[in-house]
């Protein structure tokens, strides 16, 4: 909450043209754009929440749910697409039961698609918390996810 306040404070007296920078800073501070933040920005800029939400949903960069403990980015760039990245994405959605931009209910995983990670030689590529995994297949991804789940379960037991 105080994070939102400090961004709002910084843009005191700002007009609506500062909407996008405000959203970006909120996302940086919170990891996502919360409902509360949308309403606060709307109040500060004297525009409706629907407008703020409309602008925020227009851009892929904004997410509306907190990041999971493990943030999976699936590359959907041209090279990765040709090499079958849609299969990795589909399997991730299926296993995690979420869509890109969402976070699993237990808060463990979040999923995002990106246009290109600049690692085309490893295509199709995904990253989990910034670590790259190349030549991804559906099977490999399934295994990766279940390994993380196992690890977390063990940690929980301790």
């Amino acid at each position: 909450m105080s994070k939102i306040k400090s961004v709002i404070e910084k843009y005191k007296n700002a007009k609506r043209d500062f909407l996008i920078p405000m959203l970006q800073e909120i996302q940086e501070a919170q990891g996502y754009v919360s409902k509360e933040a949308v309403k606060e920005i709307a109040r500060a800029l004297k525009i409706s929440s629907a407008k703020v939400y409309g602008v925020a949903t227009f851009y892929n960069q904004f997410r509306f749910e907190p990041l999971g403990k493990y943030h999976i980015m699936v590359c959907r760039g041209t090279a990765c697409h040709v090499k079958g990245s849609s299969q990795s994405l589909n399997i991730a959605c299926e296993v995690l039961k979420i869509k890109p931009g969402q976070t699993t209910k237990d808060g463990l995983f979040s999923l995002e698609t990106v246009a290109c990670m600049g690692a085309c030689s490893l295509a199709p590529v995904i990253s989990i918390n910034g670590e790259f995994y190349g030549e991804m297949t559906a099977e490999k991804l399934k295994k990766l996810i279940s390994e993380i789940r196992e690890k977390e379960k063990k940690n929980e037991g301790k």
Partner: protein, 567 residues
Amino acid sequence: MKVYVNGKEVEAKAGETILSVLKSQSVDVPTLCHMEGKIPSGACRICVVEIEGQANLVPSCSYPITEGMRIKTNSPRVINARKTIIELLLSSHPDDCLYCDKQDSCELLFLARKYGVNEKRFVKTVRNLKPDFSSPSIIRDPNKCILCGKCVRVCEEVQGIGCIDFIRRGFRSQVGCAFDSSINVTSCVNCGQCVNICPTGALMENNNIMMVKKAIESGKYVVAQHAPAVSVSLGEEFGFPAGKDVDGLMVSALKEMGFKAVFDTSFAADLTIMEEASELVERIKSGKKDMPMFTSCCPGWVKYVETFCQDFIPNLSTCKSPHQMLGSIIKSYYAKKNKIDPKDIVVVSIMPCTAKKFEIRRENMEDVDYSLTTRELARMISVYGVDFKNLKPQKADIPFGERSGAGKIFGSSGGVCEAALRTAYWLVTGKDLKKLDFESVRGMEGVKKTEVDINGIKIKVGVVSGLGNIKNILESPDFKNEFDFIEVMACPGGCINGGGQPFVKNKKTLAERMKALYEIDKSENIRTSHSNSAVKFLYEDFLGKPLGEKSHHLLHTSYLKRSVADK
């Protein structure tokens, strides 16, 4: 300057758009996203025209006219482009016209017919978006939406609310609420201006005809009451000119369909005035507490105050809206007099309004069971096979059939204020005003003002319609000194332009409806609420006096601070 339209020389002014020149020449150009008097958005491109010497077609709504321009509005290239635009719009449209409520007045359907769309040239991609049935007033089906943006703009620019906007982008864009929430939990005030402006079936009122039919069928004592603005617009749905008063035919039609009694809500408007004018006088006498006083007849406005400016809740008159007052009186006084169990009475209000559908669900307002719009009534009449035009006119039933001219003008912006002033003057002085007409508060303007001197007390009055206008006033720092009494109606022009009225093609229709109300008032023998003998009798026989204990219990209400998902 001179320009040429389809080869004909035409005068034009610098700064005009091509579309406004064409319209002034009565040249037909289709539009979908154009809003008169607003900055063009150029979203739909259906208004394209060809300009000689120009490589591309241009959208006439947003293209400025220049000297010597040669415009073609119906060249094969133009016609073909328009047809393609419609075909592309239809390629992601559900094509379920046969099941669509908007069929009779769908602009998209009319254009498809006009431009001869008779095959599916493009691959169909249906969007499968979720319709929103959450609101008691408005149903939204984003699948039928063509993203013209008029609902978004009317909500934001005219009404000052903005509870809907474009969300997401590209093929996934749709009109929706903040956080994709359903509209019933948002700041929507249910005014229905979005429904009126929507060119397709994406926005419609929540249709309650079936429930009313079932109530009639069930053998219960079903009574109808009709609002002042309904009788001057209903006729349009049956081929009468705008502003034709079909009061008598409407009463007959309602009787024909099985309503046991038909009452005139204008009677209750007179009752409202007795209470509201008394309240105004008392507030002024008691040292100007919670001033200026706001009218409370309009449920869209009431919800607006409860949502957006909660500090002013005490300024709202505590009077229920007229049809709610009548509902309460029917289920108490009328039921007792006629020895009917109130539980067996079903009150149906015929209103020009979508927000009334929300209002009847409010706490302390459960005496009206159903609220139908003017459009729904027209449909119901045709479903019942009533030959509307050839009915024998009847009068509304007693004891709530008599009305004054003051009660009738409630349907127009300025009417409530005018009626209240006529009676407030009488309450203080015991005499009637020499001149009953307040011309300065009549007409379609969004903000009107007048001043009345009552025994040396100056009452400064404001009349506002279109919620965007009241927003500006409430934000101005010293409006409290500027006004003692403000009438607010959510819809521009008042109930004659309500969200439940027959769809309007041009502004003249609204002016005709408004004029009709004032003409009825003028022709009426009784023109003040306090001289309505039925109202007088009701006070003598049952209520006692205005603001008395019974009135307080039956005719007044309270308001709440609303929290909504998007504020």
